[in-house]
């Protein structure tokens, strides 16, 4: 298989990270504002924020998994990966508008939970966010190592180390601001590469003639646009996770708090379309590989994209693909670093260790030390070549346990801290029991979990409808969805442990959260959230002293 030379790869990597570092330097301030370090100025424009949301949500695994899905499930495979992934961005924005309305100066969603319920709910959400971001960081560093190992003579560990320290170098000083600033350039590189690579491979394989020759290779399910197998094995578990990934991911929350409030809707709709177009487009490479009869190297579907590029593209286009994958993993890794620093700065240091009275200078260094520590953890674990992506899929399903309690807490004034924590604990337990089949899924026990999962399906649909159309539509569609799902789920869902466990988490958390809340007579005043969630630093160094910024625009000149 074709490989880029060591010199070419080193030049590409150092060129990419060098240019990114220079972009980040343009916004560096001698004294960064702690709020700016976490959520920028809270009024980022449409172009920057939409590009940042798109680039952040596209990571290396998006390309590999979409292509694997296209190869495995045929015609509808790439859609069942990219479409539902895109909806994760779309369905969170109505709730994001509520987050901003309640707490305009928030830095993390867990911080809002602290104001709403107190420490235990806050730490449940912050903890799940931290675990998700650390695993995501490991996946991205692993992808860098794998790409370098496949497309160059350099080793896996070289790729991991260069990506890890490359991303840290440009994110460390200005945090979230660096991440957003560099996302635009990284996304442009990704789109330009995708726009060149997809048609190039398609026409190299024979263009429209490929369908005439290749369609007979597909089985009935692969040739169907409405494949039941593709929906049940790829689409449905992903659809169920739409709200879970969005709520469980601080990188999305951070952008909801950073974009200008009136631009949340256009920003997230554009990011939805951008993500879908790029990821589904690259997923088509898997479908083309299936049509062409390509066998994945070593039987590993993750090798499909590098293999297709190395086999059918000229060297310059292989270099483009290399930059595209490095850009995708870097834009997500820098967002994970910024998310982790915000979580530790706000939820561990600011709200707990400093008890709401943090020292801005100390807080800033807490954020930077978090980034350094997270990078080291990411690099070390990535070097172990664990099956980290499976871990993230597991955690993503687990996030289903927190979706209903989080959303209900911000709309319904009767939800209590006890309701929140008990709902998450019970849902977590139910998820683990069904996911690992710790009880025999037969007879009455299977029926119990299927009923709970059916209700969970109604909760998912109901929450999605509620976000866009309000309470009445949400309740109505939730009930209709439950009734429609029941005959399909009862007696059948026990054979799909992944789907059963995910839906059970939603159902259990909704039942417990609602039940415990109704037992209480407490009424919460939502005005108190805005009073409790405030900026950590009132004097903005960037604005109050523009001369200092001009003189010290470069942090390395300190």
């Amino acid at each position: 298989m074709f490989q880029l030379s060591t010199t070419t790869v080193v030049l590409l990597l150092f060129g990419f990270y060098g240019l990114t570092f220079l972009m980040a330097l343009r916004i560096g301030a001698k004294k960064e504002n702690v709020d700016g370090y976490m959520v920028a100025n809270g009024a980022i424009g449409f172009g920057m924020s939409a590009a940042s949301m798109t680039a952040t949500w596209i990571w290396a695994a998006s390309f590999y998994a979409a292509a694997s899905s296209g190869y495995k499930y045929g015609l509808s495979g790439a859609l069942h990966y990219g479409f539902w992934g895109a909806l994760m961005i779309l369905f969170i924005y109505p709730f994001g508008k509520r987050f901003r309305e309640l707490a305009p100066q928030a830095h993390t969603l867990a911080e809002i939970m602290h104001a709403r319920h107190g420490r235990s709910s806050q730490m449940i959400l912050a903890g799940s966010n931290i675990v998700g971001s650390i695993i995501s960081l490991m996946v991205n560093f692993t992808a860098a190592g794998a790409l370098v190992a496949v497309l160059s003579p350099l080793s896996f560990i070289h790729g991991v180390l260069i990506a890890g320290f490359g991303v840290l170098s440009y994110t460390l000083w200005s945090g979230f601001r660096s991440s957003v600033m560099t996302d635009f350039g990284q996304l442009m590189a990704m789109i330009l590469a995708a726009v060149i690579i997809i048609p190039m491979i398609f026409f190299t394989l024979g263009g429209p003639q490929l369908f005439t020759e290749g369609m007979p290779r597909l089985n009935l399910e692969q040739a169907s646009f409405f494949s039941k197998t593709a929906f049940l094995e790829q689409g449905a578990p992903f659809f169920v996770a739409v709200l879970a990934y969005a709520i469980g991911n601080q990188t999305i929350a951070q952008r909801l708090f950073a974009v200008r409030e009136d631009l949340i809707k256009p920003t997230f709709i554009t990011a939805t379309v951008g993500y879908g177009a790029i990821v589904i487009g690259l997923g088509m490479l898997g479908f083309l590989a299936l049509l062409a009869g390509v066998q994945p190297m070593d039987g590993d579907l993750n090798n499909l994209i590098p293999q297709m590029a190395a086999t059918y593209l000229p060297p310059f286009a292989v270099g483009l693909l290399f930059i595209m994958v490095i850009g995708s993993l870097s834009s997500t890794a820098d967002s994970d670093l910024a998310a982790l620093s915000a979580l530790v700065m706000t939820d561990i240091y600011g709200k707990n260790l400093a008890r709401g009275r943090p020292n801005p200078t100390t807080m800033l260094w807490v954020g930077r030390l978090t980034m350094i520590t997270a990078t080291l953890i990411g690099v070390i674990f990535a070097s172990m070549k664990l099956d980290i992506l499976s871990m993230l899929i597991f955690v993503g399903a687990l996030w289903g346990a927190i979706v209903f309690p989080v959303i209900a807490s911000l709309f319904w004034n009767r939800v209590t801290n006890t309701a929140f924590t008990s709902a998450v604990a019970v849902a977590f337990l139910m998820f683990v029991v069904t996911r690992f089949e710790l009880v025999s899924l037969h007879g009455a026990m299977a029926l119990f979990f299927e009923l709970l999962a059916t209700l969970g399906g109604g909760v998912v649909i109901g929450l999605m409808a509620f976000g866009f159309f309000g309470r009445t539509a949400g309740l109505a569609l939730g009930i209709v969805a439950t009734l429609v799902l029941a005959p399909f789920a009862i007696g059948h869902l026990r054979d799909y442990a992944v789907l059963l466990s995910s839906l059970t988490a939603y159902g259990a958390s909704a039942v417990v959260c609602t039940g415990v809340s109704l037992l209480s007579n407490e009424r919460f005043d939502f005005e108190r959230i805005g009073e409790r969630v405030v900026a950590f630093q009132h004097s903005d160094n960037n604005e109050s002293n523009p001369e200092e910024k001009e003189i010290n625009a470069c942090p390395v000149s300190l």
């Binding site: 009024a43 449409f46 939409a50 048609p199 369908f211 951008g274 177009a277 790029i278 083309l288």
Partner: protein, 41 residues
């Protein structure tokens, strides 16, 4: 599905991505103009 429809199905995504890139570039230019006009970062 005909070969034409399948070709469109494969190639529509890079076209859509190009349109998104155009929208984002226009958005960026407007962001820069707004920042210059208001004097904000």
């Amino acid at each position: 599905m005909s070969s034409f429809a399948l070709t469109a199905y494969v190639l529509i995504w890079p076209v859509l991505a190009t349109m998104v890139l155009t929208v984002l570039c226009i958005g960026l230019v407007r962001d820069i103009r707004t920042a210059r006009r208001t004097g904000n970062d």
